[in-house]
Symmetry: C2
Subunit: 211 residues, 2 copies
């Protein structure tokens, strides 16, 4: 299978969101055209996205909603559960620790860590904040795949180095800093400053930002 | 000026972040190669990105760091301030209301709204949560450009309709739902589920995700 662009994976995730809504409403089949409209893309793009992974759907009948949900979940790796540690129990870390969307999508938060003694031992929902000194031992013991970084920018790289050395293979970075990960580690960044700046660009240059 | 891809704007934002770090360290000039290394791209890409907006830098001497920061800030629309309202004072909304990065980048939070009587009137940092019934009147009075949505998914579209009808022209959507905005309104979404699913794809298909 050839490398898949992140934009394709992103669209698959959005198709999945839409298909789940349709399933909840009792719809059994859907056309590539309907999926395209929902996502503001074309039916040719939808068929191309799905063709990366083999053939689905029947000409003229569209896709079976439940089958397609199953296929996309399998493709995205959502047919199994993943374990997550959150590093940093500040406002964002605490909010994420209690984010129900993790569990409903099969992402289990198995630990949250901080180095502030005032936070260590406090409860966030069902989970208790542990000392950052426990990070390596817990990763070796619990074998989480994903680390969510909610630490200050200036320590982000050091924390990434620690968790990837200990065996983490995917990082979701909320820290306001660019970090490097070793080969073989998947990284995503949610950068508020960048999102705001893209908005400011759109406001400053109406009609110029390609959609 | 032809339409500019979002990926270009995103890279400009990241160059800016890096340039600001370099300025803080006292560096006066920088080559496209140094900028490229910092962002994991090529010097040709850097020169192409900057060429969209006219010519900067001198061959062999590189870019003047302070000039380039000024130019990118101007391009991105960061040479002025923007006013922001936050809709929803739950965990994410409350965390964002107290996010210092807004103000330091020229984004002033002028209001935060909720419909829960238990939240209305509470203080979040320097700002007091107001009733969602005040949204339209406040937008007309304070003329904010940006609304940050931190509401449940099922009400997200209705809230977007209300704020854009009232005059908001840029939306940053944290709600776990796809929303449509009228023509002329800029929209960005931060979708935790999508970020997690892209990570899960990367974990399930190592080496396959194109970077």
């Amino acid at each position: 299978m050839k490398p898949i662009a992140e934009s394709t994976v992103r669209r698959l995730s959005l198709y999945l969101r839409f298909l789940e809504e349709f399933e909840a409403q009792g719809q059994l089949t859907i056309s590539s055209g309907e999926l395209a409209v929902s996502r503001g893309t074309t039916s040719a793009q939808v068929r191309k996205d799905l063709s990366f992974f083999g053939s689905f759907g029947k000409r003229g009948l569209g896709y079976d909603v439940r089958d397609l949900i199953g296929s996309i979940r399998q493709i995205l790796g959502l047919h199994r559960t993943w374990s997550v540690v959150i590093i940093g129990a500040g406002k964002i870390g605490a909010a994420l620790a209690q984010y129900r969307g993790f569990a409903t999508r099969g992402f289990h938060v198995v630990g949250i860590y901080d180095k502030d003694p005032a936070r260590i031992g406090t409860k966030l929902g069902e989970i208790t904040v542990r000392s950052d000194l426990e990070i390596e031992r817990d990763i070796e013991r619990l074998r989480p795949q994903i680390a969510v970084l909610c630490v200050p920018g200036e320590v982000a790289q050091a924390v990434v180095d620690r968790v990837t050395d200990a065996g983490i293979t995917a990082v979701l970075n909320f820290a306001p800093a660019q970090v490097q990960v070793p080969n073989g580690v998947t990284m995503r960044a949610v950068n508020m400053a960048t999102e705001l700046e893209i908005l400011a660009f759109g406001l400053s240059h109406p009609e110029e930002l390609a959609s």
